[in-house]
Amino acid sequence: MQGDAATIAALFAVDPSGLGGVALRTPACAARDEWLALLRTLLPADSPMRRVPLNTGDTALLGGLDLGATLQAGRPVALQGLLAQADGGVLLLAMAERMTAGAAARFGSVLDSGQVLLQRDGLDRVLPARVGLVALDEGADADEQLPASLAERLAFHLRMDGPAEDEESPEWSAQEVQAARQRVGRVQMAPASVQALCAAAMALGIDSLRASLFAARAARAAAALAGSDTVEEEHIAVAARLVLAPRATRLPPAPPEPAQEETAPEPPAQDASELPDPPLEAPPEAPDDPKTEDSDEADSLAPDPQELAERVLEAAQAAIPAGLLASLKIGALQRAKSPTSGSAGAEQKNALRGRPVGARKGEPRAGQRINVLETLRAAAPWQRLRRSALPPATATLRTPRIVVRKEDFHVTRFRQLGQTTTVFVVDASGSSALNRLAEAKGAVELLLADCYVRRDSVAVLAFRGKTAETLLPPTRSLARAKRSLAGLPGGGGTPLANAIDAAAAMAGQIRRKSETPIVVLLTDGKANIARDGSPGRGPAASDALAAAAQLRAMGVSALLVDTSPQPQSSAEQLAAAMGAQYLALPYGGAQSLNQAVRAVAGRN
């Protein structure tokens, strides 16, 4: 096992609720099981450790009415949710990368407040839930990630992608952790240390203050684990390495072009493990900038904050994994794409049933689901009357506690999904770029504004060169849609057939979520790359027409916006083949474009 992984397990075990948790990004593997087993042994034996499956309902998670017990007892009995059950312990979130933003927000509020506010099913409780989370993130690529709002609230982000190392990893026993749990409340931390951590966080481009707060707590835990009552430099270094480094969005600005040399040593973990043991004698460079306000207090506490900050930074920097560097280069892009929820968006969950929106009277049939609570509510006022009407209890027939009749039945209503998702397919090829890519972008922005009003989701595909790519999967965040477009470069061939295929595939996906797709294709219609990627106008055009016919066969509403300077017959033909409305941009001002989309949407 990697040394850092063991350290994280121990630190987390010392202060689970204070540190929030661990985002464990790795496929299900032996190393993960081993780590979880280690965590289990380090946590106190009596502390709960529960597993939460993906898509756990609110009742199971937060609590609600215990139906069995309620019916038995004839009075409402509350059911504790997983969060409250795990108070003082740890929850394992399975498949966390597919978690919805809503679920992440529920966990987030519990992590923030340490309690569950239960306002459900007629129950009004505040239950303690000081839990730590281990988010098991099995995301395979960059698109599949833990919801950012949850990742933010977990102190440690651990990746286990490296090969298991043979080097002996630091080991702690459950007794040591137990002792540290007692001690951690007493550990003192000097202002200079706080400053060092904050400075390091800033230098690494970490915006959120939670990171610094977690780093401070982790440093305390590290000190407690080492049996020290004050936070020393090495503890700060550990905290910076484990909490700050994985969140870095950029490298510290100090040396120019540091990227390659600074992080060349590999594997980074080994290097880093040497760093936390800095020589105790004075550092070689004399501090040259002691003007900070805290310097009086700091002086008495050994190292100069400036100095300390630099060392902490060094420790963090050394731990930045090599893989992260690649993403740092496209840092801006990464951040823009940072997921707000896992890939199983709220919409996907709707596909099965839709959102429950209250209940109505009626019998459960044809797959309708009974709403037991509402049924009970309806039955409740009549109980005394009905019981008195029943024959008196005999030896074989006991009087039921609650008499429910057919007319009490209520079924849960689900919202019919009228959601529309507009898929914008933007031609970013050379010919289009020359002509009016900028105007097409402008047109899409206008259409986005309209989608905003109608609360539609949008998705953006772009095509150039040989392929079409998904710039943005269906989302309701229009700001992201706009951003994804803004950075779209132009140039290359026009793989129209591939683009239409991609649009059709996405439309199919959207439809499977029982939403209505609309495809808006912005192109000049001059296809010159065939399906197989070979150039040539002839085959490209016929492929494009074939793809268009397929889209038509799917019955997807479409709009083709001709972006060429002069309206082209090729684009018009394509529109006809797609069964799409045709609109030439030159004649269409912004407003008429808007109306056109509305008309297409209204056709359904």
Binding site: R75, R106, G122, S149, Q195, S208, A378
Partner: protein
């Protein structure tokens, strides 16, 4: 109740703190929407509010926290029949509406316990009743289920909660200041709900090292010893509380000269805000600011200070222009200030 982080110990975030104080001085301004980066203390500020506000007088035992002088809830109306009921001082409610809440707990529903055990049809008030005369706080407001949003929009506008379910027919006052917080990355708010918020503030992570260090230090100190930390900041909190009380007293006396109203109207016209709610909120917020600062009448400076939070979310805007609305308000302000007054 667990101790909350003291309001005055929050570092920076002046816009957010000011907006909250102004709505405490004049609740008719409407709610506050706090949108911004993660980890900036949005919920901390709201949760600190409960401890900060001066206590209010309410009918003793009233489940809706009725004002003794204007008791309008069904309980009070049934009980009083002319004679005044005893009253007591209670803390202003700051009610959390958690994301997983069900409709019956929000609006209130049949009391299941009494119905099942005694066969009595009784109404059990929900969160809206509890928030009456206080604050209703929704964290991650943009993730709230649509059917709950619909309920809120209606109640927030009318100040009254009408329950028609399970054979119950109850209406009770539910006048509250709505406070929402969230991260714009996670989805937009419905325009109708947006409109219910009087002020909207944007919060950003402090950018200077000094501020950030201070935040972490204070938070750390609070977590180590909440009691001592709260004690340490009690004086500051008291100062704010006294300011709010004084502001409320002064509020009625603050003059609003016609020139100020004209300026507000001109600003709203220049920005093309929808409806007149923008005008109204702007003037009210400026008046509350004048009362807070101890000024006798509303001046252009007051209006300028509160214009961005009062109007930012009301622009008939390009919704994609996420950074632009504040800038537009400021630009319009600058242009108006430069133009000669009519």
């Amino acid at each position: 109740m667990a101790l909350t982080f003291p309001f005055s110990a929050i570092v920076g975030q002046d816009d957010m703190k000011l907006a909250i104080v102004l709505t405490a001085i004049d609740p008719t301004i409407g709610g506050v929407l706090v949108f911004g980066d993660r980890g900036t203390g949005k919920s901390t500020a709201v949760r600190a509010l409960a401890a900060l506000l001066p206590k209010m007088r309410a009918v003793k035992g009233c489940r809706y926290g009725c004002d003794p002088d204007a008791a309008r809830c069904p309980d009070c109306l049934a009980a009083t029949s002319g004679k005044a009921r005893a009253s007591e001082l209670v803390g202003v409610p700051v009610v959390d509406l958690p994301l997983g809440a069900t409709e019956d707990r929000v609006v209130g529903a049949l009391d299941l316990e009494r119905a099942l055990s005694q066969g009595v049809k009784a109404f059990e008030p929900g969160l809206l009743a509890r928030a009456n005369r206080g604050y209703l706080y929704i964290d991650e407001v943009n993730l709230l289920e649509d059917h709950l949003v619909d309920l809120l929009i209606d109640v927030a506008a009318s100040g009254e909660n009408v329950v028609e379910r399970e054979g119950l027919s109850v209406r009770h006052p539910a006048r509250f200041v709505l406070i929402g917080s969230g991260n714009p990355e996670e989805g937009e708010l419905r325009p109708q709900l947006l409109d219910r918020f009087g002020l909207s503030v944007e919060v950003k992570t402090p950018s200077t090292l000094q501020e950030r260090v201070e935040v972490v230090k204070r938070r750390d100190a609070f977590e180590q010893d909440p009691q001592a930390f709260t004690e340490q900041w009690k004086k500051e909190d008291d100062k704010v509380r006294k300011g709010i009380v004084a502001g409320r007293k002064r509020l009625g006396d603050v003059q609003i000269p016609d020139s100020a109203r004209t300026f507000a109207a001109q600003l709203c016209i220049a920005l093309g805000t929808d409806g007149l709610r923008g005008d109204l909120t702007l003037v009210r917020a400026a008046r509350a600011l004048a009362a807070w600062q101890g000024d006798k009448s509303v001046t252009q400076a007051h209006l300028q200070r509160v214009a961005p939070p009062a109007l930012r979310h009301r622009l008939r805007r390009n919704p994609l222009d996420d950074a632009g609305s504040s800038t537009r308000v400021e630009r319009a302000l600058a242009e108006l200030a430069a133009a000669p007054q009519k």
